[in-house]
């Protein structure tokens, strides 16, 4: 899904959204739009390549390094190519109490990957994340904007099958 540096540009629809995002912040404070724009970019390209980050920097009239230092600080941004679906699995205590570790082991085995890896068919990337603010509905993982809660091994089978189609 990556594009070469010469073609790095938001789609027209996203460009409009990006301009609206920048306009929300006070005059001269356009840097505030950095996190929203990085999310928008990741939505389009799947991950944040240096070329994409440079593009965002130009758009906000800030140094490229200011984009890199932010993109590397926050865990939601993927700095390397990822599979079609990124599974962000909650590994924190309350989810573990609900059987999160067992389900996680099963998921890893099923996909044949460890945390941080992508399946050979490029369909799934597995990432470990901390508490997703859904502890009472654990175990939990997230794929893009969708929360999957009350996970069991059976539920994992269903979800993976559905997304593999």
């Amino acid at each position: 899904m990556t594009e070469t540096s010469t073609t790095v540009e938001f789609t027209p629809e996203r460009l409009t959204i990006a301009q609206e995002m920048i306009a929300r912040y006070p005059q001269g404070r356009q840097k505030s739009a950095l996190l929203p724009l990085l999310h928008l970019a990741q939505e389009q390209w799947g991950w944040l390549s240096p070329e994409v980050m440079d593009y965002i920097g130009r758009m906000l009239d800030i140094q490229a390094i200011e984009v890199y230092e932010v993109a590397t600080f926050y865990t939601m941004f993927h700095l390397n190519p990822v599979g079609k679906h990124v599974i962000e699995y909650c590994r924190t205590g309350p989810c573990c109490l609900m059987g999160g570790e067992e389900v996680y082991d099963y998921l890893k085995q099923k996909l044949g990957v460890k945390a941080g890896e992508t399946t050979a068919d490029q369909k799934f990337t597995l990432k470990e994340v901390e508490c997703l603010a859904a502890c009472g509905m654990g175990p939990v993982f997230q794929i893009r904007e969708q929360y999957y809660m009350h996970l069991t091994k059976e539920r994992v089978d269903e979800i993976i099958e559905e997304l593999s189609r």
């Binding site: 505030s32 996190l35 926050y74 573990c96």
Partner: protein
Amino acid sequence: MGKKILLEHINVPGIETFDVYRKQGGYTAVEKAIKTMSPDGVVDEVKKAGIRGRGGAGFPMGMKWSFLAKPEGVPRYLVCNADESEPGTFKDHYLMKNIPHLLIEGMIISSYALGANKSFIYVRGELMYVIRILEKAIAEAKAAGFLGKNILGSGYDLELVVHPGGGAYICGEETALLESLEGKRGNPRNKPPFPAVKGLYQCPTVVNNVESIATAAWIVNNGGDAYAAIGIGRSSGTKLISASGHIKKPGVYEIELGVPVEEFLYSDEWCGGIRDGHHLKALVAGGSSVPILPANLITKLANGEPRLMTYESLSEGGFQTGTMLGSGGFIVFDETACIVRNTWNFSRFYHHESCGQCSPCREGTGWMEKVLHRIEYGHGSMHDIDLLVDVAKKIEGNTICPLGDAAAWPVASAIRHFRDEFEWHITHPSEATQPGAVFKGEMALV
């Protein structure tokens, strides 16, 4: 004890829409405040209500509002903290997703009281679907004339901006949140200056939790005195509790402050008791950062009296026998839970989330995680237990922000109350490392 202020209408179908929310009496508080009250009049009611910040620290909201500096010609900002990342806490998520207009209404009233014309809701980026819900609610409120220019013909203008985080627990700390909102890394600032004087863009700023702000509508409608009459003493009002772990009914509950812990835990109205066939072993009452307590200390005070769900009662006994209400993340452990493993898990969390600015926190959290890992996996020595206590002590109070304390307390309290469990891991490594193995010594089960 069933008074509901925030969740009263939670089960009304369509309550997430403007029309249904309005039919249930929504936005009447905005009308009342803007048409009949002065900004300072609203601040006074919030002061009278005595509501303490619901984000964790419990600082009185009205007092915080009255500290806001008001230099001529300088904009002031209200920022809502919807970063909700404290393990065990999921109430703000629940509230925003189900009744977004309650927060929007609270934001309008609070912004009016503080004289802010642009206010922000900083939502953790993982909750992008909730951000879309809030943006829809804002558009609806704007279309109805409750937001934008010249609200209700009063001359007061307000714009609300929902801002996504990027995945970082530390951005829940208010000054880190402001840095993040300015498009930077979430490194907490040194205080002073406090946000009330120099906050967002170096302008006077108030940061409040979602639940705190959402309460403003009820306070305006019913008056500060009516709010103060709910609850007990300095723990006035209601509190949302996120209940998780080994209970029959995990979920978000609104309680009147003052409910006995035992009742909250065992009554069918709330947690419904420990899951069948199991017993209470330990409990974290206010999110992962507060001290863990063993069963015998959580439902009763050291003197045998019932412990209540209030700021004061939960902290009764200091850290020797007490804990804190914190964010209201109520995590319940039965006898199958391994305290060492949980402590290691929490330690890993704090190490992962430390922003790295202060050496005691950056190095100390990593060190504690490493030592706990080796104890959990059967390679620990007795000396390691004292080492952990020592490291925790050296982090506490020696850092820029309270994340350091938040990392130290769970470790120190687990060792204080469950030392024999750590020792067992060290003296019986082959048993302790069996899958699902848990220390079966003299636990004070209830």
